[in-house]
Symmetry: C2
Subunit: 266 residues, 2 copies
């Protein structure tokens, strides 16, 4: 039976943004697949997401969609199915792992400014810029990493500003994102951590905290961390989240399976 | 009597652009006023510009205009008048002296990129930017020197590009300016220098070469020299012009006055 404290914790984290079931499942599979794509039984998945108020039917729909889109595969085992990330799904979650779980920002990453050649239309500029570029005018953007793919007709300069005006800080992290990070930091800090014995509660809180952080962090590239003050809202959320993840470590799948069997009188 | 060679030289330099008489007079007064505003008699001025095909009447109009605008002053001396740069006129010609007569480009000058804040209109951006800024989009410009006067709401970054696309090179030096510099370099190199004895011819060629160079060089700031390849058209014109100036040194005013008196049977 969920404790009232658990429900309060849950509500705090659910306040941070509505869950998409398929995305939550990717968070769960991704968290357990640190070194390789592990198999998780449909029953354990159902148990975990059920605690978040996700019905078995919604889970089935999400699993179907994820299989169709090539994110996961299923494998029958007796009366249940096991689910695991495909090679592609795993390589995509693995690629973002450092920015989701990492607590250090790589400040050596080069930051550039790119000015579009005059013959490009606004649509062509938008197509050409990587998704994590931050525009500061309709033809000028800041970007991190390699500017090579933009082509030789773009004007590229190192970016090295001594101060960022407010409007540029807003381009790097808009009001909505900042408010979301601030809320997540507050809610993560306000959690009452369940005792060691409550393995399922602890795991669900870990996964939900991770998920809400992952959802926000994947909305942008490295630029806010590279250019905004070190205590910007996203950095505060990162710190609060990583503290929760460290206080609620990932359990072994065997322990989770045992918890499932206890729950179901197994 | 002008020699045919002199006329050929003159035509070469006059080909480089039409003379504005008032501007030519500023070149003459500026050239002689290296350390202080010197007095030049109206008769010597008339002799010098007369060789360029400028009538006495056109000279009088120009002198009137320059006095009205505060560039020069006149002082009666017997039957003639002496002309000299005002304090303001002198400080303005002195300010540009290094870039007109200098053969070295100060490559330590900082180069910036400025991106206008979103609330500024195109007209406000254009007003705010210094005249020698080079725009690379309607809201983004490259500039040299101090960006301070732009105000804290502009995004300012060091400018450090590894290569400049063709369209940026065209912004730094447009086709018309490049063609004008190329022509000036060619014509200056093609001059047949008059012998030492022809003091007037030599002086007139010096002043006209200087004038055509000054006219082009004052159209832009330091950016082309700082950013374009070291052998860009303006640098080639500078080299050709400085060679002429060094081969035809500025005479003393006393020598010029004596030449005037010889011409007029004095």
């Amino acid at each position: 039976m969920p404790l009232p404290d658990f429900q309060k914790n849950l509500d705090r984290l659910l306040d941070c943004g509505q869950l998409k079931v398929w995305s939550m499942v990717v968070t769960v599979l991704g968290d357990f697949s640190e070194n390789r794509p592990v198999r998780i039984s449909g029953r354990v998945l159902d148990l975990l997401v059920g605690r978040l108020g996700i019905t078995n039917q919604a889970l089935r729909v999400a699993l179907h969609r994820l299989r169709r889109d090539g994110w996961i595969e299923a494998e029958k085992e007796g009366r249940t199915s096991n689910y695991f990330l495909t090679e592609r799904g795993w390589s995509m979650t693995r690629a973002v792992r450092p920015i989701i779980y990492g607590d250090a920002v790589d400040r050596s990453a080069p930051v550039w400014m790119a000015i579009a050649p005059p013959q490009l239309s606004a649509a062509e500029i938008s197509d050409a810029l990587p998704g994590d570029a931050v525009t500061v005018s309709n033809r000028t953007a800041i970007l991190a990493g390699s500017p090579d793919p933009l082509g030789p007709d773009w004007l590229i300069t190192d970016f090295s500003a001594t101060g960022l005006p407010g409007w540029v800080q807003s381009q790097l992290c808009g009001d909505e994102l900042r408010a979301a990070y601030t809320l997540l930091a507050r809610q993560a800090r306000a959690l009452t951590l369940p005792p060691e014995a409550d393995l399922l509660d602890r795991t669900v809180l870990r996964l939900l905290t991770l998920h809400q952080w992952r959802r926000l962090r994947l909305r942008h590239g490295p630029l806010p961390d590279l250019l905004l003050p070190p205590d910007w809202a996203g950095a505060q959320a990162r710190q609060a989240v990583l503290e929760v993840l460290s206080a609620l470590p990932r359990p072994s799948l065997a322990d989770l399976q045992a918890a499932y069997e206890r729950e179901n009188g197994g």
